[in-house]
């Protein structure tokens, strides 16, 4: 039985190129980092995160309690933009380390002076790693060691940072060298990096575009700036480029952090949709974009005929996202792909340009526009990645019309195989798990679960459905209407009654926006709640999710990556004008409303995931990602 296994090539431990170093350098640098920081200097130079613990992402504590607080945030707050900037390509002007933010931590010096020496010693050692790491690029091996050493959490948000980096790949460490030093380093390395990284970043850009979702990305800046150089490089699939490119591709890029004012400014300049930032935002979620809702629609509608950068079909889809007309991972993905199909049909290569490069640029532009309307879902990200891979793999000798036909049929095939057919297979597997007399519970509205329930009903199985719903979206009502219309017995309740109703339930079927590599299910907010209650009652939880939604990312909590919706809908109850206590909430400084769209359900609460590859346990998601991405799942 051994012979049947294809030997797996062991990939190099991923050496993350962070910031400003030529690819060959990293290991040397990491060694050359200050071997033993002295207690005096580290405060400022080593322990970067101590500064960041006072950055906007954390509620500023009273001074003397600051150290305790940092102890209590094991996972670390979302990392400040300073660190993110390091990972991004050097083409982004590294106003990423914002001088103003640097100056904030006068507090940090005192702060770091505060602790007792033993603790300091430990912090020092963690500091050593800290310096070596950003110095040397983010050496995963080191980080692993470090985590194994299990430095105490008060070793600074450093450790938290490390952990978070492991967990949320792509957030580099920031070190506190002096400004001038860093600038000099940066200039020197940027030149070296630009050449070497030219090709890598192109795929990095596509990686960013597609691999990350739900928050905006620096991709727009990256892609538009680097397109000329990087696209050229991407053509050559030379051997030496390949490992670099693969490495880059394998490691998802950091997402844009919206609390970096500088970056947000730059992003705004390029944007088509002028979004106004919401006031009164929750501190913990500052790294996610939040805009005033409903303000852009009329303006954008009027701009419809003046577009030159965005194809009308894409524009339409973007507007529909903005208005909230299309929701649900599959629907959004299909709408987007069909819009891209339209735009490809109408596309014609400008003279003196290559189809592949130009089309990719165009697609990048469309994607940026769509992101401005509404952050991408993971399914959309994967679909875009697929499309870009297909474009990049077009044989050069094809004529333009042939190439276009190729792409259009590829998109059609993707939609039909990965979405429509996949749903049919999922339904086929799932109905085998429904027995007569079952009481099935579902939450909100998932297209796959709905199809399965309808199919099971057609097959004549006798069962009853409990639909759990939640404000503000109340998506369950639409599902309820459709099921009752087909004659299925339904019970409808809100999420606050889920523990009341759970004892009657025999199976729980949930949908997912995505399933991540550690088995975590990323789905509509409230799903985690339902799954946990079901687990407590020993009710099996089955997730129905197509395989194209799987992602190699890992997420430990619902905070580091999410989407923020319109907070106003929380303060109002539709149809009940007299409930107006929260009117004018925006004027109160002490009140912030939070409307999260997604949450992460840990894999312990999930019994089984039903995909088009069959029924698998949650631990097998990375297997599917590995086996099929490698074999070009998307083709």
């Amino acid at each position: 039985m051994d012979s049947r296994r294809v030997p797996r090539t062991v990939s190099d431990p991923k050496v993350r190129q962070v910031g400003f170093f030529a690819p060959a350098a990293p290991l040397d640098r990491s060694e050359s980092g200050p071997p033993a920081p002295t207690s005096s200097s580290p405060p400022v130079s080593d322990v970067s995160p101590s500064g960041n613990s006072l950055s906007p992402v954390m509620i500023p504590p009273p001074r003397h309690l600051s150290t305790d607080l940092s102890r209590h945030f094991p996972l670390g707050p979302p990392i400040s933009p300073l660190r993110v900037a390091r990972a991004a390509d050097t083409s982004i002007p590294v106003g990423s380390y914002n001088p103003s933010e640097f100056l904030t931590p006068t507090a940090t010096t005192e702060f770091s002076e505060d602790p007792l020496s033993p603790r300091w010693g430990r912090r020092g050692s963690s500091g050593k790693f800290a310096t070596s790491l950003p110095a040397g690029g983010f050496n995963m091996a080191l980080a692993k060691q470090k985590n194994a050493v299990n430095l105490p959490p008060d070793g600074g948000s450093n450790v938290e940072v490390q952990k978070e980096q492991r967990a949320v790949t792509g957030k580099p460490l920031k070190e506190k060298t002096t400004k001038a030093e860093r600038r000099a380093l940066q200039e020197a390395q940027r030149a070296a990096k630009a050449a070497a990284k030219g090709e890598g970043s192109k795929t990095g850009a596509s990686g960013v575009n597609t691999a990350n979702s739900n928050t905006g990305k620096p991709v727009k800046a990256v892609s538009q700036k680097k397109d000329s150089s990087s696209v050229a490089a991407s053509e050559k699939k030379g051997g030496d480029r390949q490992p670099d490119k693969d490495r880059k591709k394998d490691v998802p890029h950091p997402r844009m952090q919206f609390d970096d004012a500088n970056r947000v400014e730059k992003a705004k300049k390029r944007s088509v949709v002028k979004q106004t930032e919401a006031k009164n935002r929750v501190e913990l979620f500052r790294h996610l974009p939040q805009y005033e809702h409903g303000t852009q629609l009329p303006e954008l509608e009027s701009k419809f005929f003046q577009l030159d950068t965005v194809h009308p079909a894409v524009y339409k889809v973007g507007l529909r996202y903005l208005a909230g007309d299309i929701s649900g991972g599959n629907a959004r993905c299909i709408a987007m792909l069909q819009a891209f199909q339209e735009s490809i049909k109408d596309y014609s290569t400008p003279p003196e340009k290559s189809l592949i490069r130009d089309l990719t640029t165009k697609i990048n532009g469309y994607v940026s526009f769509l992101i401005e309307c509404r952050p991408l879902s993971i399914s959309m990200g994967n679909a875009i990645r697929f499309l870009k891979t297909r474009i990049a793999q077009l044989p050069l000798n094809l004529s333009e019309s042939e190439a276009k036909v190729h792409l259009i049929s590829d998109i059609d095939r993707f939609i039909s195989e990965k979405i429509i057919l996949a749903d049919k297979v999922i339904v086929k597997h799932a109905v085998t798990k429904i027995r007569d007399g079952d009481v099935l519970l579902t939450y909100a509205s998932s297209s796959a679960v709905e199809m399965m329930l309808l199919h099971a009903h057609e097959l004549g199985k006798h069962f009853r459905v409990v639909i759990v719903d939640s404000r503000p979206k109340l998506e369950g009502q639409k599902l309820l209407r459709r099921l009752v219309g087909k004659g299925i017995h339904c019970t409808y309740t809100h999420i606050n009654a889920v523990s009341y109703i759970m004892h009657e339930v025999s199976r729980v079927f949930l949908g997912a926006s995505s399933v991540l590599s550690n088995g975590t299910v990323y789905s509509r907010v409230g799903t985690a709640c339902v799954a946990m209650v079901a687990h407590q009652f020993h009710v099996p939880v089955l997730i129905c999710c197509e395989a194209y939604k799987f992602h190699e990312r890992v997420q430990l909590d619902s905070i580091c990556s999410n989407e923020l919706g319109d907070p106003d809908v929380i303060s109002k109850v539709s149809g009940r004008k007299e409930i107006n206590t929260l009117d004018g909430w925006a004027n109160s400084e002490n009140l912030q409303l939070l409307n999260l769209m997604y949450d992460a359900t840990p894999s312990d609460y999930v019994s089984m995931i039903i995909t088009d590859y069959g029924m698998i346990p949650p631990t097998s998601v990375p297997v599917i990602v590995r086996e099929y991405r490698r074999e070009h799942l998307w083709i």
Binding site: S607, P617, T619
Partner: protein
Amino acid sequence: MAAENPNPKISLYYQTRAAHHGVVTSDWLAQAQAAAGGRSDDVVSENYLSSGEEDGKGFSVVDEFNNWRKQPELAEAVAAIRALASVIRSSQATTMMELEIELKKAVDSLKSWDTTSISLTAGCDLFIRYVTRTSALEYEDFDSAKSRLIERAEKFGEISYKARRIIAMLGQDFILDGCTILVHGFSRVVLEVLRTAAQNKKQFRVFCTEGRPDRTGLRLSNELAKLDVPVKLLIDSAVAYSMDEVDMVFVGADGVVESGGIINMMGTYQIALVANSMNKPVYVAAESYKFARLYPLDQKDMEPALRPIDFGVPIPSKVEVETSARDYTPPQYLTLLFTDLGVLTPSVVSDELIQLYL
């Protein structure tokens, strides 16, 4: 290859089983006879209805299978694999498709022979996948492709046959001097592990559960006594009572399911629960051909396998008896699986299945 059913009254399956174990209750025979009614009809009708060479093939698969099964040491699935290999060998097909169809028919007839045996079904499925999953099928001419298939089939048979030895070698490493092992059910693999450990001069003692109603504990203690291993028999209810003294639990498996859990003789789940709550490791010894693409969510989510229970006294007809012969142990209660692929954690089972089937 004409063959007859030597004793048309009792199904071959139960006959060979009885011959293996020598412990047959009247209840059991009665059930066997009842089953035999359907069984022999199938066999006979197959002879009459079909004609031509296919018929001979179909008939001989089951026959081959039974011939192999007569050896008590041979696992069911391995016997099936050997039988299927001989189907290929003796096949008169001239194209790949024909051969595959023949194989499929043979597999179906084997599966219908015993619908409740998971290892048989899984073994057959795996055999088909293993044998036909070669790129050689595409471009070689038929004869060389066929010989490739036969080669692979024999190899698979060899591997499966040797699986027990490999597992024994892996498993006996986990048995340390002075340890106490709790064993449930009569698994030949587990017996092999214990035998190997005893041969390596390890000092250990074994607690056997009685294993009603099959009396597996009695048989096992018999075997172990022959090996000079100190054995203690427990009634099934005394497991929690003795769990303190136990260092590890060893069980076999009828089937290993996709979640990593196992389907085994009734009582395994109970013992795994007790062991888990007392922090004792539960080790499962199972060959890799027992990996099946099932995914039970709870105890009732499987094909029922019923066997009658003899209480020794007549039971009033109003009283219902739970006659299920096996239960499902979820993966969180299992520590490690010893297979011929190595020592695995339960989550690897799905990995293996995905690699093989997709």
